[in-house]
Amino acid sequence: MCADLSWTNRTLLVCDRSSFLDHKNRVSSQVEQLHFTYKVSLLLPGCSSTPSYLDSVLKSFTSFYLIRKLPIYELLDKDFLKRAVYQGAVYGLSFRTRMDEDNCVALMPNGHLVLSLDKDSFEVLGFEGKPSRFNHRWVVSVDLTDRSMAPGGRGYLKLLTGLKSRLQLQTDFLLSHHPGGGASLQPLLSRYDWSEHKPEVSRRCLNDLTCPSPRSCDPHSLLEWLGAVDADVSSENSSSSFLSSLVCPEADSRLRHALSVCVSGLLLPDHLLRLIQELRYHLQQPQLESWVSLTVHGFTDSPVSWGDGQQRVSNGGHTFYSLMMFHDHTYHLYRSPGTPHTGPP
């Protein structure tokens, strides 16, 4: 009379090992697939302060805007569509809306507007959509650049009426743009209560850090150790402390200094690609340590995860990946695709 074990959640960790010099490497395609990134954590062994080139890249990340109580039909405004959406420069995500309780909205740079709605809201909206595989939700995915959604077209008016008079969806909204596209958002911003934010950077210098050898260590233990370092969990396992009994797996060396940098906000794939370039440059500098780790956290409440795919709630690690970069241009890319039904992208 035991619980059926075939129902237990199984996790899968995919490890991709290749080199940046190989032109078929998947790093840039992987980075570009995750449109909305919440946080990036870096671990730079052997550094006690952020190198200047890295600092300048972090400072150059474009700021993003938070609009409070934006009625979603404003995203269909003709002027906004022409100036921002059609240029392919805008990223938008509803803020503080929980995937399993509220209605969530995402606006992607390729002009797709994705609404993840619960059953009642979907029936009230009255627009075509598909039932989501997860959680009794319905997904309305609209290509705003398509001819049927051109302003004045039938599909456009149907969605506009739905959002304006029937459903009246209104959420806090995070909006960001490609560099140089800021002016296109101003007309929309000026109509509502908005604030500008810069991605927040925090740095921590770690002393006397025991670390494993990243090349030879088992991936699960390595990722656990990286997570413990990022979360500031002590891996001393002293007998007087009951908080954590984590230890460094296969302890290989002891670092006198290491720098943990964390950037959070609405980050775009473009920012990450520039950061990876700088980190590669950093690795070429003469130094003791030959590796750097970069972990990317996506938004847990975003209606889209990889590409246009749907997000499954509270699955642990679906929109999340880790990149270990080495001195010789090789890398290890770790990611954990969620459900047993969908493979890695």
């Binding site: 009379m1 619980a3 129902w7 237990t8 959640n9 309780e101 009642d120």
Partner: protein, 268 residues
């Protein structure tokens, strides 16, 4: 809305006690709770069915659910523990004041009757003792077709380790027969400390034999179906809703408007 609900908070006469339970539930993220009046009739003594205290008297200002801008919704529920056929009177007018109606059958015959005949919303599965009877597929599927749900409560499991064994054993027994359909998990909490968050209950559901998605549904979607079922119980086929209008000449009139949220008696 696929929001989280806990449909079993045991009523206590102490107002502050109940208030703290409702505040804890709101803090944990539940959008709807139901205050449960347990009524155990005995053939020897004539007892009165308790009448529900109006929510506005119970708690002044309803607390806002954590993470949302709406206050928590509080409903009234009656659970009748039946050990004899005469205990449940289907046409009793006292049942009308309650939003939800539940029974807890103690024999197999009563369980069969509850599943197939009684006009109720929830069938409670006993968790404090060994199951007095085995579940048969026929009445369970009959109940599922009618839109009834089976309830497992977990507060007993928190209090005592023997109860924990009974809870898990009885729950697994139920899941074998009903395959995880139409099940809700609720607390039956007597104090605020016995409440747990919705995601914790989802994990607990997996221990009871529910699959990942069924477990999540048991705290959200199935509870929503129960509420809609309860609303339609008071209507005629879920379309007509009658209201007594206060007039000088004593007469009822049927109003055609105000159709309830579900147009079908069995929401899908």
């Amino acid at each position: 809305m696929a929001v989280f609900m806990d449909l079993n908070l045991v009523f206590s006469a102490d107002r502050s006690h109940l208030q703290s339970m409702i505040e804890t539930a709101a803090h944990l993220g539940f959008s709807t709770v139901a205050v449960n009046y347990v009524f155990e009739p005995s053939t020897k003594k004539k007892q009165e069915i308790p009448s529900p205290v109006p929510i506005s008297e119970l708690i002044g200002q309803l607390p806002v659910v954590q993470g949302r801008s709406r206050p928590i919704r509080v409903l009234n529920r009656l659970t009748v523990v039946i050990s004899d056929v005469s205990h449940f009177r289907p046409t009793a007018p006292e049942y009308r004041c309650f939003d939800l109606l539940a029974v807890q059958p103690t024999t197999e015959k009563l369980f069969h009757a509850a599943c197939m005949l009684y006009d109720i919303d929830i069938i409670c599965i006993t968790v404090t003792e060994k199951l007095p009877f085995f579940f048969k597929r026929a009445p369970i599927y009959g109940a599922i077709d009618r839109g009834l749900v089976f309830e497992i409560s977990y507060a007993a499991a928190i209090r005592d380790s023997t109860m924990r064994r009974y809870t898990i054993a009885n729950a697994l027994c139920l899941m074998e027969s009903c395959k995880g359909k139409n099940v809700i998990l609720s607390s039956a909490a007597v104090k605020a400390l016995e409440l747990r968050g919705p995601y914790d209950i989802t994990n607990l559901g997996q221990l009871f034999g529910l699959s990942d998605s069924d477990s999540k549904e048991s705290v959200s979607w199935t509870c929503r179906s129960v509420l809609l079922h309860a609303e339609t119980r008071k209507t005629a086929s879920g379309v007509l809703h009658t209201m007594k209008i206060q007039q000088e000449a004593p007469q009822d009139s049927a109003a055609d408007g105000d159709a309830s949220a579900a147009k079908r008696s069995k929401p899908t």
